[in-house]
Amino acid sequence: MPVPYTKLVIEHFKHPHNVGEIKNADVKVTEGSPACGDMLTLYLKVDPETHVIEDIKFQSFGCASNIATGSILTDIVKGKKIEEAAKITWKDAVKALGGLPTVKIHCSVLAADALHSAVEIYMEKTGLVKEKKPTTKEIVMSKLSHVVDPLTGIDVVRSGLIKTIHIKDGIVTVILDLPKEHQFAKNIEEEILERLEHLWDVTAVKVIFEG
């Protein structure tokens, strides 16, 4: 019995498509963390007129399934309109790969999550979302539940790292129960900015470390 992956999975794993960074990306978003064993960063470049995804690239700290899914998923959505991309799920990716071992499905879910986050951020940024709800603490919390502490692999909401959130005159202040010297303070701050800065009624995001 050879390795439990389809030929296509192995092909994409060995020679992944659309790998790397996009320097002037419209959206950059990270899902997962190395602590969970899987992490994927996605970059989108979208045509502002047609909302067609002109370019998409990914980077992965992940296993074979994660890399292969990143590769095929970016192939699938490249050239699609952003609204169509929103409808692509991990199931589409797994199907396109000819299947994945059951225990490896979560790796492809992560890649699809990254895509959906990227699409959501783009739509919020460009005002494509239909109803513009004011940003509340609940919305901020739900966005931050995608930001993972690389040390523990648990998101900052669930691990109780968020002390307080203030929202006033478009300024969101997030106070974290973490010392400024924390090994990953900078990463966490960056990811929080990625998740909040673009919201339509947010003019600035401040991350304060109070650990």
């Binding site: 790998v19 190395p34 064993g37 960063t41 980077q59 700290f61 399934s65 890399i67």
Partner: protein
């Protein structure tokens, strides 16, 4: 090229071992315990007794009946831990082990915990070594057993079992060591070192699978854990696996110090080669107190399953401590117990060598590992900052 570097899982049998076993399938197949019946049985019993005597001598025991043959290291560990715990409840129901034991030891203790025993799982330092002071502080009046592995199967880290045995003796506590992966790569001397129980596993040293050995020092209070007949001095029922017993003896007999020295040189060549050609590599475990045939390295910024699969494409067999690789999707509990973070555990690779490996294979492995790591790092979103 095909390079097998998963010898801590199991080794290729030596042809001489197989040759020694064959007569016990085809001619001497009688049951050894039928000593009052026929010559067939007596012949086999003689051979098994010789095997017992041979092991007693090699590990510093005194009496042939101190060697109990089991179905493997796993069963030997079960018998040692549970058998001693059940037999010594009058002394107390407190037991001590470490957080980095093999699952066959750990889960035996967990079972005992469910049954009302109290177990202390000793922490280890960043090199995987147990602190003697912590051990001393854990000892209670009711402590009936201390079980600490000789060498670790994942990192190769070696514990100071002589010191631990000494302390156990001073405190009047029975001491078991799981030497399944360590012996005969490292020597052991049961009586002189003061060890009461020792687990051995012949398939780790070019012997057959399905055979294990538990040394039980004469006079040690222990109860059988499998019910059946009176075999193995009424400690391990079941028909003896005589071909495997004979194979185990042969494997121990032909195991050579020269091979160990050569393996150690190969391991050093591998580590040096990797550390000088690949950046951002961390050595997991103690370089000083280490088994000669195991090295565990973390390649930062990338994930272990991806590394091991890519190495497999190149014909190289290794394993990783990454969650993505394991059946239960948990990262290596051993590396985590050493204070490594999940990221370090996920990027870890175990290389374990045998006497069959060659310099050529090692050099090929160094080269391919470099290529694979560099390829995967190109994909990784991590580690751009500290790259020169």
């Amino acid at each position: 090229m095909r390079v097998y570097l998963d010898n801590a899982a199991s080794t290729k049998m030596d042809k001489r071992v197989i040759d020694a076993m064959i007569p016990f399938f085809l001619e001497k197949y009688a049951v050894p315990s039928s000593q009052f019946t026929h010559t067939y049985g007596l012949e086999v019993k003689d051979a098994v007794d010789e095997a017992r005597a041979s092991f007693v001598e090699r590990i510093g025991g005194k009496h042939p009946e101190e060697i109990i043959f089991t179905s493997g290291g796993t069963e030997a560990n079960n018998l040692a831990v549970k058998g001693v715990a059940y037999a010594n409840m009058d002394k107390g129901k407190h037991l001590i082990t470490t957080q980095v034991e093999h699952n066959s030891v750990l889960n035996s203790f967990r079972r005992l915990e469910e049954e009302g025993f109290e177990v202390s799982y000793l922490p280890v330092n960043e090199n995987g070594i147990v602190d003697m002071d912590v051990l001393t502080r854990c000892i209670k009046k009711e402590t009936a057993l201390i079980s600490v592995q000789y060498g670790n199967h994942e990192t190769g880290t070696v514990q100071d079992i002589r010191e631990i045995a000494k302390l156990s003796k001073e405190k009047g506590i029975l001491f078991h060591t799981d030497a399944a992966i360590a012996w005969p790569y490292l020597p052991i001397d049961a009586y002189n070192w003061g060890i009461d129980l020792i687990t051995l596993s012949p398939h780790k040293f070019y012997g057959p699978k399905g055979i294990g050995i538990l040394f039980v020092k004469k006079g040690t209070k222990i109860k059988k854990v499998l019910d059946g007949g009176f075999n193995e001095f009424n400690l391990r029922p079941g028909t003896e696996n005589t071909p495997a017993i004979i194979g185990a003896k042969k494997a121990a007999e032909i195991f050579s110090k020269e091979d160990v020295d050569r393996i150690l040189l190969l391991k050093k060549r591998l580590i040096r080669g990797i550390e000088t050609t690949i950046k951002h590599v961390e050595y997991n475990g103690s370089k000083e107190h280490s088994l000669p045939h195991i090295a565990n390295l973390t390649f930062k910024y990338i994930e272990g399953e991806a590394i091991s699969l890519r190495l497999d494409f190149e014909g190289i067999a290794v394993i990783t401590g990454s969650a993505c690789y394991s059946k239960n999707l948990q990262a290596s509990y051993i590396l985590l117990a050493m204070g490594k973070n999940h990221e370090q555990a996920h990027g870890s690779i175990r290389f374990s060598l045998s006497k069959y490996n060659t310099e050529e294979e090692i050099d090929y492995t160094i080269q391919k590992t470099g290529e694979v790591v560099s390829d995967l790092r190109k994909l990784s979103p991590l580690g751009r900052e500290d790259e020169e």
